[in-house]
């Protein structure tokens, strides 16, 4: 075989030398024509880069095409087939020679670039393509050779090979890009392996069949020719079919609507709302392919917010164009749910309810920092060009009336608190930073000031309470200020609402402390075991609830666990959107897991699981489910 | 030196034998001369070596050739006599045949016609 490969290399040597000479000649040429301020290194890199992208693929096709067509010619028969080697081996040696020569060209270009890709100069598309480069080159050579041999024509073979390569690689690239930026639908790794194997092995097998029917004049049965054609078409058919499957599947996908993709600001010191907690009876769902967004409640009743549009025709060829919606909601005392909605058609304010549906009520500007404020009246706070603006809801006939709030952030919030906060819902510090005042009541706090910001009240069974962190040296204590005027120390750590405290729909307040679990003598961090500090609605507090065992059992990370509900004896957690966990208070090692239907893990903080009073909504990949607190699952949509 | 007519109806090995006999009769080959090797003669006349080998074997069997001190196919002293007698025999036989013909009604013209035909290579 080595002898034969050397022979074939010699046969191609003129073409090969032409290519490599041209490639080397482009170096001085690049230096000559570059603009004055471009560094030489960059000019040369660019020249080599364009060789890699265009010159070498064309050269590879030319070498493979002429080699393949040459192997089918009569002269090949007389000069080579009469040698005592199998005819298929001759073909493989020709193929191997071309592969070696193309590899040499690629290596040379890469070496000239300094064995590194000029990533800085590469566009986004280029970066995607280079991942498939070596495979594409091998594909071009193998197919260029085989098809030129089959049709006894270098040009035809090369052209077909280029088309086949495009049909195989382009969908692969688009699917990779799609899954990298959106979500995983297809098992792309296995698919890529299969396509690689099928292209290379299948191509070689097709070549063997063709060698039989062509050189050896074996019976050209329809079966053989069909088999060869199928082997050659398999990779392209697979990628195109995969792309079709991707498109079909993506149309069915449902994702939760994140609340802070376009409205990133969390309400800071005034009561407002975040999606899921405010309207526990319903959840917002989107179908990213069509852009349809709807609200669905526990009974399965749907109200469409945005009907979406049908996708463009290009969806089947390139990756699907997905629409991303984002929304924040607030339900006011009258029962109207307001939605700050950012969808494909822009930003709008919707208002309505599940019975009557939702209607657009006002157009919103292109700002990035709106959120709701609930108080005596519901309203929207917006930050533009460094100033704060407020508009009360509901909007007037001619839209929202925005008024400018004086002052920087702290003053602005103070101003709004004074005007709009419901009595007793917010507490503020007096100038001594010791006395907390709200709605006629006051509390005197021990220790020193840890924060002087206004404190948001939490509604427990006995009324509105305030959680305030205080500092003593370098130790922190969080105190609870009760409606009866008493102050009690709660937790020996810094906790603040809405900073590192969250509330659940059933009114439980909790915070998480991340404690590294250190192993033995060398003090290496083995894991992080989140500790939950919980304040139940009945006033009972639970400190230091560890969930390490749960994380171990579910194989999840400390970031993935959050509290959903607390009752007299049990705690419910959401483990990574994958499990509903019910654990005993006092012994969290005693827990039950219920697996949840798989959902798409979105990119930004969007959570597929939202709790409501009677259970959790799960926005799964192919439907919306509801699971009650004992693991009973039903499909809503 | 030896001429072979592959179109002739006489077997080639016979023609080789006759050829050698002619050479000896014309004293172009003398007793003690070595005949060309089978290979050389075959190459020269473009013949299958087996054919030449057969001719040599028969000539050796007839005593025309003999082996001497490691050399093969040497013309033997009997060769001339054999050749002559062959020829003598042949000539006698032709004479008898002509006489016979003439006795039985052929004319000399007929005999001439036959000779002419041979000259033209038709027989």
């Amino acid at each position: 075989m080595k002898t034969l490969i050397m022979l074939q290399l010699r046969k191609n040597s003129v073409s090969f030398r032409t290519l490599i000479t041209a490639m080397l000649a482009s170096i001085p040429l690049a230096l000559l024509i570059k603009s004055g301020h471009m560094p030489s290194r960059e000019a040369v890199n660019l020249a080599m880069f364009y060789w890699l992208l265009a010159g070498i693929p064309l050269g590879a096709l030319a070498l493979a095409g002429s080699s393949g067509a040459g192997a089918a010619k009569e002269t090949a028969f007389n000069t080579e087939q009469i040698l005592p080697v199998p005819q298929y081996t001759l073909l493989l040696s020709s193929l191997a020679a071309v592969l070696l020569q193309v590899a040499a060209l690629i290596l040379a270009a890469y070496a000239i670039m300094g064995f590194a890709l000029p990533l800085a100069e590469m566009s986004f598309e280029h970066t995607q393509v280079y991942r498939f480069y070596l495979f594409s080159m091998a594909y071009l050579v193998l197919y260029g050779f085989t098809l030129s041999y089959a049709f006894k024509n270098g040009m035809a073979g090369a052209g077909l090979a280029a088309a086949a390569a495009a049909a195989t690689v382009v969908p692969l690239v688009t699917m990779s890009v799609f899954q990298e930026f959106s979500f995983k639908i297809l098992p792309l790794i296995q698919l890529k392996l299969f396509i690689c194997a099928s292209a290379l092995a299948g191509g070689a097998a097709a070549l063997k069949i063709l060698s039989g029917t062509s050189d050896r004049q074996e019976n050209k049965s329809a079966g053989k020719l069909f088999a060869a054609a199928l082997l050659l078409a398999a990779p392209a058919l697979t990628t195109l079919a995969s792309l079709a499957v991707l498109n079909i599947e993506v149309r069915k996908i449902m994702t939760p609507v994140p609340s802070n993709w376009f409205f990133p600001n969390e309400e800071k010191y005034l009561p407002g709302s975040s999606a899921g907690k405010e309207a526990p009876g319903a959840v917002l769902v989107q179908k990213p392919f069509s852009g349809e967004v709807f609200m669905i409640d526990e009974s399965g009743r749907r109200a469409v917010i945005d009907p979406g549009t049908t996708s463009s025709e290009w969806g089947y060829i390139l990756f699907p164009n997905l629409k991303r919606a984002s929304a924040k909601r607030l339900t006011d005392d009258s029962g109207t749910t307001w939605i700050l909605y950012s969808g494909s058609d822009g930003r709008e304010l919707f208002g309505g309810n599940m019975d009557d549906g939702f209607k657009p009520r006002a157009k919103l500007g292109q700002t990035w920092s709106m959120h709701f404020i609930s108080g005596k009246v519901p309203g929207i706070l917006d930050e533009r060009e460094g100033s704060h603006y407020y508009a009360a809801l509901p909007p007037q006939k001619d839209g929202l009336k925005w008024e400018k709030i004086p002052g920087q952030t702290a003053e602005a919030y103070g101003y709004i608190a004074a005007r709009y906060a419901r009595k007793g819902e917010t507490a503020v510090f007096e100038k001594d930073m010791r006395t907390l005042v709200s709605g006629g009541k006051h509390w005197t706090l021990p220790d020193a000031r840890a924060t002087g910001a206004s404190v948001r009240g939490i509604k427990l069974n006995d009324g509105i309470n305030f959680l305030v962190p205080r500092k003593n040296g370098d130790r922190y204590t969080t105190y609870l200020c009760r409606p009866d005027g008493k102050v009690s120390a709660l937790w020996p750590h810094y906790f603040q609402l809405p900073g590192n405290l969250s509330t659940t729909p059933d009114g439980t307040v909790y915070g998480t402390l991340l404690t590294p679990v250190v192993s033995g003598e060398d003090l290496r961090v083995k894991s992080i075991d989140p500790e939950f500090y919980i304040l139940k609605k009945d006033g009972e507090t639970i400190s230091g609830v560890r969930t390490g065992r749960i994380l171990e059992k579910t194989g999840l990370n400390y970031e993935d666990i959050s509290l959903l509900r607390a009752d007299d004896s049990c705690l419910w957690f959401n483990a990574g959107d994958k499990y509903l966990v019910k654990a005993r208070i006092g012994n969290t090692e005693d827990f039950t897991l219920w697996p949840l239907p798989p959902s798409i893990k979105g990119r930004s903080y969007s959570v597929a699981v939202s709790a409501s009073a009677n259970g959790i909504f799960i926005v799964a990949k192919e439907g919306v489910y509801f699971m009650n607190w004992e693991g009973g699952l039903k499909k809503l949509f | 030196m030896i001429k072979i007519d592959i179109n002739s109806q006489t077997p080639i090995y016979e023609q080789i034998k006759t050829g050698f006999k002619g050479l000896v009769r014309k004293e172009l080959m003398l007793p003690g001369d070595a005949a060309p090797s089978i290979r050389t003669l075959a190459e020269q006349l473009k013949l299958n070596p087996n054919t030449v080998a057969r001719a040599y074997r028969e000539l050796t069997a007839e005593g025309f050739f003999r082996s001497k001190r490691g050399e093969e196919n040497i013309v033997s002293p009997l060769a001339k006599a054999l050749a002559d007698s062959d020829t003598k025999n042949l000539k006698t036989r032709v004479l008898e045949a002509v006489k016979d013909g003439l006795k039985n009604g052929l004319t000399l013209d007929d005999i001439e016609e036959i000779i002419n035909k041979i000259k033209r290579g038709a027989l």
């Binding site: 046969k11 087939q81 009469i82 005592p84 074996e218 | 179109n7 089978i38 473009k46 299958n48």
Partner: protein, 287 residues
């Protein structure tokens, strides 16, 4: 005669069709060691196809083939044991003669480089000449050297002297004889001018309509084929196997008669003459 009666080549029931055309049709052929067999056939009669099948270059549709104790299996090993001179020999044009031989030395198991170089010298073939620049005659010489330098037991020659001048033809024929003289070699030749091989052949096989119809020993063809002139109305004859019409003009006809027994079938008064080999072959083909 060194006949060991060992079968060098056995073909039974061989068939090959190209599309709708049946090129070889139930062909049988047996060749023993030491035989020199001529294959006679018109252009397109399937000679090349037969050779390609024997050389394991083309797959047969049906039939058994055993050459030198092996069957063609697609591996090409058979070609390493056969000396083949193709009808249109061709070599890589950029190689020098020496390189052509060197390539073969690496691929043919029994290559004898000393013999190859000696042959080139004898044939006056310049080993430094580029294969692409060789004349037709020199190409033929190179093909010959390439075929015999690995001392194969079987030679397959497809039109080895066609289109060559007298001198080159002479070289080739001499070379053939030389190989035969080495002993143990079997030769299968297809030649247009079979007559010039007359002194070498043991047997001639007629390839007609895809099968080998008849084999005639060379001796038979030389000594038992006659040309007879007859007068059409007067002398009765019937054409058939062994009796073929060569030509006619007016009331005269010329016949080729194969075998003495067929001579009796012709009511004579006719003129009998010998027939040269070329005419014999032409008569065989013309059927």
């Amino acid at each position: 005669m060194n006949t060991t009666n060992e079968a060098i080549l056995t073909v039974k029931g061989l068939s090959k069709t190209f599309g709708a055309r049946s090129v070889i049709n139930d062909l049988d052929l047996d060749v023993s060691r030491g035989e020199v067999v001529g294959i006679l056939g018109r252009n397109g009669s399937g000679k090349s196809t037969l050779f390609k099948i024997l050389l394991d270059l083309i797959a047969a549709d049906r039939g058994g083939v055993r050459v030198l104790g092996r069957s063609p299996d697609g591996s090409g090993k058979l070609r390493g044991l056969i000396g083949y001179v193709p009808e249109k020999p061709a070599f890589h044009t950029f190689m020098r003669v020496e390189e052509v031989l060197e390539l073969r030395s690496r691929l043919f198991p029994r290559w004898d480089m000393a013999k190859a170089l000696a042959l080139c010298k004898r044939l006056e073939l310049d080993i430094n000449a580029k294969a692409g620049s060789l004349s037709k005659g020199n190409t033929a010489k190179l093909a010959w050297v390439a075929a015999v330098a690995h001392n194969p037991e079987l030679l397959l020659l497809d039109e080895p002297t066609s289109g060559l001048d007298y001198l080159v033809r002479d070289h080739i024929l001499t070379g053939l004889v030389s190989e035969l003289a080495e002993g143990g070699k079997t030769i299968l030749i297809s030649n247009h001018r079979m007559g010039e091989m007359g002194g070498l052949l043991d047997r001639v096989c007629l390839l007609k309509e895809g099968r080998i119809d008849a084999g005639y020993s060379a001796d038979f063809l030389k000594t038992e084929v006659f040309r007879i002139s007859v007068r059409l109305e007067k002398d009765k004859f019937r054409e058939g196997p062994g009796i073929k019409l060569l030509s006619r003009s007016g009331s005269l006809a010329e016949l080729a008669v194969f075998g003495r027994e067929n001579m009796e079938k012709i009511k004579t008064g006719a003129e009998i003459s010998a027939m040269d080999l070329d005419t014999v072959f032409k008569a065989l083909l013309g059927e």
